[in-house]
């Protein structure tokens, strides 16, 4: 019925197309104004949201440290943040060094080639030693800005994540977006290659593998009345939750936040 109506309309006004074209400019202007207005409104909403988040963040956090945006930001921020917090904490660094050393055997059990894993591990241990010897933040900065050391560290944190996922494959299988993928395939394509970005599943696994509690504050419009905070505890005792490292997440990128 509606189709036949529109047909009659066109038939009744043979110059309908022309008149539409003529007035088209005006309609377009209106349309453009409308689109622009919507755009401005959206920007105001975004701006208000950013202002709101900034205000909330500034209540609790004093500084932000920006990390390189190369797809490794989560791991690099984790490595730097963790070592920065524990520069003077020998006990904690010894624990971490032992985890680093032991991961090799776990990876070999999972079928990795011993010497490639060993290669990465040795450089990471060397890096930790250098950081301990220096003992201060400028030295840590220098080491983390040296591409090779920094990249080896990232690579090994990726292996920590991968090994934990594989050793708990049954649990993590249901988290995968593509259920047809096995955890092993997921690790080979989404965890181990450099520059692959990290999602919740990676964060959960790394926090548990290295036994470090993490907090992520999301700035991605998911909530507008309060900050979206996700805590990743390394134990199941959540009453005592205190994050070692806090990240600020903006879509596709992680930076470090420092509490007041």
């Amino acid at each position: 019925m509606s189709t036949s109506n529109s047909e009659t309309n066109t038939n009744n006004h043979p110059d309908a197309a022309n008149s539409f074209n003529y007035s088209g400019k005006d309609v377009d202007l209106d349309g453009q104004t409308h689109v622009q207005q919507k755009h401005i409104e959206q920007e105001v909403v975004n701006f208000c949201y950013v202002c709101f988040v900034c205000k909330e963040l500034m209540k609790k956090y004093k500084y932000i440290r920006k990390t390189r945006g190369d797809g490794n930001c989560f791991y690099r921020a984790f490595g730097f943040g963790y070592l920065e917090q524990n520069l003077k904490n020998e006990l904690e660094l010894d624990r971490f060094r032992k985890l680093v050393a032991d991961l090799k055997d776990k990876l070999v059990q999972l079928g990795y080639q011993e010497f490639t894993v060993e290669d990465v591990r040795d450089v990471v241990l060397e890096t930790i030693d250098k950081i301990c010897q220096g003992g201060d933040i400028p030295n840590l900065m220098k080491i983390f800005c040296t591409q090779e050391y920094s990249d080896y560290f990232v690579a090994y944190l990726r292996l920590f994540t991968s090994a934990y996922l594989q050793m708990n494959a049954e649990f993590f299988q249901s988290f995968l977006d593509e259920p047809s993928k096995t955890i092993k395939e997921f690790c080979c394509t989404e965890v181990e290659p450099m520059a692959r970005e990290s999602d919740n599943i990676h964060i959960i696994a790394l926090a548990k593998a290295v036994q470090v509690s993490l907090r992520v504050i999301y700035m991605d419009h998911s909530e507008t009345s309060q900050l979206t905070i996700h805590d990743f505890a390394h134990t199941d005792n959540e009453q005592m939750f205190h994050p070692t490292i806090t990240f600020l997440y903006r879509p596709g990128h992680y930076d470090l936040l420092y509490e007041n």
């Binding site: 080639q113 010497f115 490639t116 090779e148």
Partner: protein, 205 residues
């Protein structure tokens, strides 16, 4: 009647494939140009920003020395180093087609090239010599379509694991043939297979 329908269907699929290949090559052309540019930028950037203190080169050399040592001392059957290790950035390796596969009894040669960023950057790997295996993922110029050689490379892989992946790719092959777009690819591709934007399909590659 039904057979003619089938032909027309298969024709349309071929046209579709053709179009896809064409578009992919165009994409690939642009990507290639971008790729070169990024490499140049990265090189000039790194020489400007980070003073070369030799750590990088040392780590690459140390890693390669270790890999070569293991390859010579505990070789995997069917994988042999040809070079004497004088030029560590370039290496040739002979591989033998596995028993009980379509490639049994055949010998092939692979060439590996490594950059300063190895093992973070994947090695460049191509088949060289007169005998290039006939395989749906290997082009007649020696280029190989294998995801661990670009997208899915990780520093936990090695020369040996690349050779094993290539051998397993050959072993699982059921039909010895060139890739459908072989002629065109060989005419239009860059010398460096890492500059090709590959699409990977299936678990085999």
């Amino acid at each position: 009647m039904s057979s003619s329908t089938a032909t027309s269907v298969s024709n349309s699929i071929q046209e579709d494939e053709d179009l896809k290949l064409f578009q992919a090559a165009r994409r690939c052309g642009r990507r290639n140009a971008m790729g070169d540019f990024t490499v140049q930028l990265a090189q000039s950037g790194s020489s400007l920003n980070t003073p070369r203190n030799g750590t990088e080169f040392d780590l690459v050399r140390k890693r390669l020395q270790k890999e070569l040592k293991i390859l010579t001392e505990t070789p995997t059957p069917g994988i042999r180093i040809v070079d004497d290790g004088s030029d560590m950035r370039k290496l040739r390796i002979d591989i033998d087609g596995a028993h009980g596969t379509l490639y049994e009894g055949e010998k092939y040669q692979l060439q590996f090239k490594f950059t300063d960023q190895y093992p973070f950057d994947s090695p460049q790997v191509v088949f060289v010599g007169n005998n290039i295996p006939l395989h749906p993922h290997i082009y007649s110029n020696g280029h190989i379509c294998l995801s661990i050689l670009t997208d899915d490379w990780s520093p936990a892989l090695s020369i040996n694991s690349v050779c094993l992946s290539i051998l397993s790719m050959l072993s699982s092959c059921k039909d010895k043939s060139r890739p459908p777009d072989n002629d065109w690819y060989v005419k239009t591709c860059s010398q460096d297979p890492k500059k090709t934007r590959w699409w990977y399909h299936g678990k085999d590659n």
